[in-house]
Symmetry: C2
């Protein structure tokens, strides 16, 4: 479709914000043709930095505000074929997901995201539009989380690699770690569980896209409920984490760090809409909820009887034991994501 | 050599600091066998964090001090086959280089490195010792720069990918950017130029390792002269950068950002020891000095007549023109590194 092709090249050059409109044949189409420095300039053009970014891209380093004299920092790397597939997710979705999962880690400390830096590796033959759309997705999610992209690096690599580092501001408060849970605490979550896993199962099974639209969207772009921690009703409890590896695995980290056990209430975790989807795939919704990661819900513990902040629901209780149980019993089946499971030659994200 | 093998497995388990000594056959030899969480625990065991790291690895995010309410941040990704070769550099050297090039960017803003985070991608079949040695190299260079590794991520990828983000403290001073050079300024450098390029040329030509030992070492582990900026004699001039892409390219960034030209004095840049090495390879030492990057020397400009800080030497002058010249003329030949040059299938670092 030459018309579509032309429009893309045309709008790309307008996006660059300089030079005349260039005909399709001469517009750079790949990262190699445009070159590193021009591409960096292009993806940073017309961006408005968040207030915390005192000095943005264009020098040896950026400068970011840390109002209370400390900053929260986390980093996550996404590798094509392992953490995403180009035939399953658009560049924009991959960009949003990369930022969302890092922002969720910042928020899971009780901090407000301020800025991100991104190291991006891609083959030289990558179409420039792919990098544009990745950047657009990153900027959109960074804005949703309250920050912006303060800088980055762009290098050549055999497959797409997106490495994000995220920063946050505790606003003078203590970080809420995984180590503070106490026996008797109420365990609560904010956000959805199991929907990303349902979407991954639907992709793996080539299930009906319309029927699974919500699950597919949840897998492609997790929507961490940032406001459940950053909103005005927030009051920190004893511990906090985000659900990235799977509920059992992530609560297991709280249990281990705090030296306690956790018992979950299966009834409180049930999701009738997921049950319906699971029946269509002959799958187990409980497994998606308990062991599916990547929804980036938040999980934490509060003193028994404390009123939970808005958006949080109780799902269990901290016990004097160790490990995580469901209705008093160990869960049968996997607990969640582990990076080095499966074969190196796996052609797509590990379906666990 | 079973004896060596046994000793390695044995010391590894002692290093883990728990459990009995396990016989060679059952000690995990690969990242897959050890698993993500155990490997993270292993590479973080017995490490002493720098004072700025308020909360280190083990939670959703780390917490780092930013005493003056701001922090400098930079990120750089190194990809196997592109930025290093496993048959040319040891894991320890790769780790040191990854930290050094990021620390140099922090110092090039006039800031003291405080902490680093590292996202590491590697194949599941990577020997555990490779990751151990990478981590040891990173920790060694982080300490040399004045910081420590506050956290990271460990994922599976088809080749080794090391993505470092570095932080620094300006100690209440203004950042020294690329944009402040003024006409008449003296251009000066601290550190060596062209030695990393000489080492790369020696590796490419399979030159005599003894004769080129110093150049090979410079290529494998750049030694940015951090103290030239962080030492007591330091007084900031008008602009500052590090030489990562090549002297002409990096001074070109200063010239462009400052809206000035720069003229270099060829005689001041000569290095007789490099001339001797270049003759052995039928190469041009001037090209190594002017276009070879990766030495991570520092370059900056000071008001004419100002006394230079210790470790700095004058190499040219800021002019009213644009671009960078040598003895008044444009340099013939390449200016330095560009990420997307050459073929995607290149099996080693681009010899430029």
């Amino acid at each position: 479709m030459p018309c579509t092709g032309y429009r893309r090249a045309d709008s790309s050059w307008h996006y660059l914000g300089k030079g005349p409109v260039i005909s399709e044949s001469s517009a750079p189409r790949t990262v190699r043709e445009l070159g590193e420095f021009a591409l960096i300039e292009r993806i940073n053009a017309r961006r408005v930095q968040a207030p915390a970014v005192l000095l943005g891209p264009g020098d040896d380093a950026a400068l970011v505000a840390a109002p209370d004299g400390r900053f929260v920092v986390t980093t996550d790397m996404l590798v094509e074929g392992r953490h995403f597939r180009r035939d399953w997710s658009s560049p924009r979705e991959i960009g949003r997901k990369a930022i969302a999962q890092n922002a969720a880690d910042v928020v899971a400390m009780g901090a407000a995201p301020t800025a991100f830096v991104v190291a991006l590796g891609c083959p030289a033959e990558t179409p420039v539009e792919v990098v544009d759309e990745l950047a657009d997705g990153m900027w959109a999610e960074a804005a949703r989380a309250g920050g912006s992209i303060a800088g980055g690096d762009l290098v050549r690599s055999p497959e797409l690699v997106v490495s994000v580092t995220a920063f946050g501001d505790l606003r003078g408060k203590a970080p809420v770690t995984r180590a503070g849970a106490r026996v008797g605490d109420t365990v609560a979550v904010a956000g959805r569980l199991g929907w990303s896993a349902a979407g991954l199962a639907a992709l793996t099974a080539s299930a009906d896209a319309e029927e699974f639209a919500e699950a597919l969207a949840a897998h492609r772009v997790p929507q961490p409920p940032y406001e459940a921690v950053l909103g005005s009703s927030w009051r920190a409890g004893h511990s906090l984490t985000d659900v990235s590896d799977g509920l059992l695995a992530d609560l297991g980290h709280i249990a281990e760090a705090s030296g306690v056990g956790i018992d979950l209430d299966a009834a409180a975790l049930r999701d009738p809409a997921l049950d319906a989807l699971a029946r269509r795939l002959d799958a187990d919704a409980a497994q998606w909820i308990l062991a599916g990661g990547e929804d980036h819900a938040f999980a934490g513990t509060w003193p028994s009887g404390a009123e939970l902040p808005e958006g949080w629901r109780a799902i269990g209780r901290v016990t004097a034991g160790s490990g995580v149980t469901v209705d008093g019993a160990r869960h049968e089946g996997g607990n969640g994501w582990e990076s080095f499971r499966g074969a190196d030659s796996a052609s797509g994200p590990d379906p666990r």
